[in-house]
Assembly symmetry: C2
Homo-oligomer: 219 residues x 2
Amino acid sequence: MTDTTFPITGRNKVKRAPLRGAYDKASVYAVLDECRICHVGYVVDGQPYVTPTLFWRDGNTLYWHGSSASRMLRTVKTGVNVCVTASLFDGWVMARSGFHHSANYRSVMAYGTARALATEAEKDAALKVMMDGLFPGRWEEIRPSTTQELKATTVVSMDIEQASAKIRCGGPIDDDADYDLPVWAGVLPVRQVQGAPVPDPKMTDGIEFPENLSAYLAE
Amino acid sequence: MTDTTFPITGRNKVKRAPLRGAYDKASVYAVLDECRICHVGYVVDGQPYVTPTLFWRDGNTLYWHGSSASRMLRTVKTGVNVCVTASLFDGWVMARSGFHHSANYRSVMAYGTARALATEAEKDAALKVMMDGLFPGRWEEIRPSTTQELKATTVVSMDIEQASAKIRCGGPIDDDADYDLPVWAGVLPVRQVQGAPVPDPKMTDGIEFPENLSAYLAE
């Protein structure tokens, strides 16, 4: 591994559409940082499982968390090989033939060995990084975690050993002979947007929507 | 398996938050049909891989496809156990403590054995089902697939042997003692929307945006 690029082996080499593959950390991190959900792949007795979960990144390390009773977390925290995949669907690519229809997307497959954070202090620090990244300032406003809560929470970290980003963007690429066909072609973009916040009816009176969540107001 | 419910074993039993788990086909299919992308988990030499891909459903069978050169498709078409996970992120659940922060989501984990469709005719029929489901009427407008294109395409099918849906919706559930805290609480909803279509600049003049894609116009 160089400072800026992940090593390329059979595990992370992008086999298809190689021009869309990238192994530099900047590309990999940029996609990961746009994703809130990842899909963690792991194996139990030969059976693959893929669990969706929130995740966050700190340097070259990915974190995810949940109840200590979770099958996924009980399995992956023991130091097994995992594949963490995160993807964003950006739109439909409409071509003049079925074969050249496609999707625009950004995805990362990241490989490493998961381990569980050992102490309540480590877990609390990692959870603060997640909260600060998503909702700056909120950590200081909410009730602090109790020791009991931290014991009931497993936080898993995975240093990224290898990764690849795969990106498709832009319009359709049709066969030369097909461009004259009277078919609408182009891109139908898709994106995620925030809706209007829904206040908890049990909230005490007089609490305004906080400035530090303004990025989550409806567009 | 009954007519309406998947069998529950250790593989698909929802371990965490069991009240959010569902095994009836209606719930599983409803989530799958809202998702365009799934994450296919499979194992090669003990290493888990998770590949994002478009997919579609026909009855109790899931399909996905791609280049015959794809590692994922070359692996899974040989009849291996796969886990297909599809998930929708619906919003952030903001509580008065870190512990009770959550996410609203709908997800399905489906298990089965993948197999490759054998003939070009089978592949063409399956691809038509995908296109008709996404873009009714478009299949008849575009250039038909050639035998060469169908040979270069692998279509994988997986009968769902077992599945579970896991759904979280609604507002935060806080500890009783925390409701008096002066913290904004509620849900910050997220949804996917269509953007404005981007016509291919290489399109011949006079082609209108087709009525059968009107569901993909910007909201």
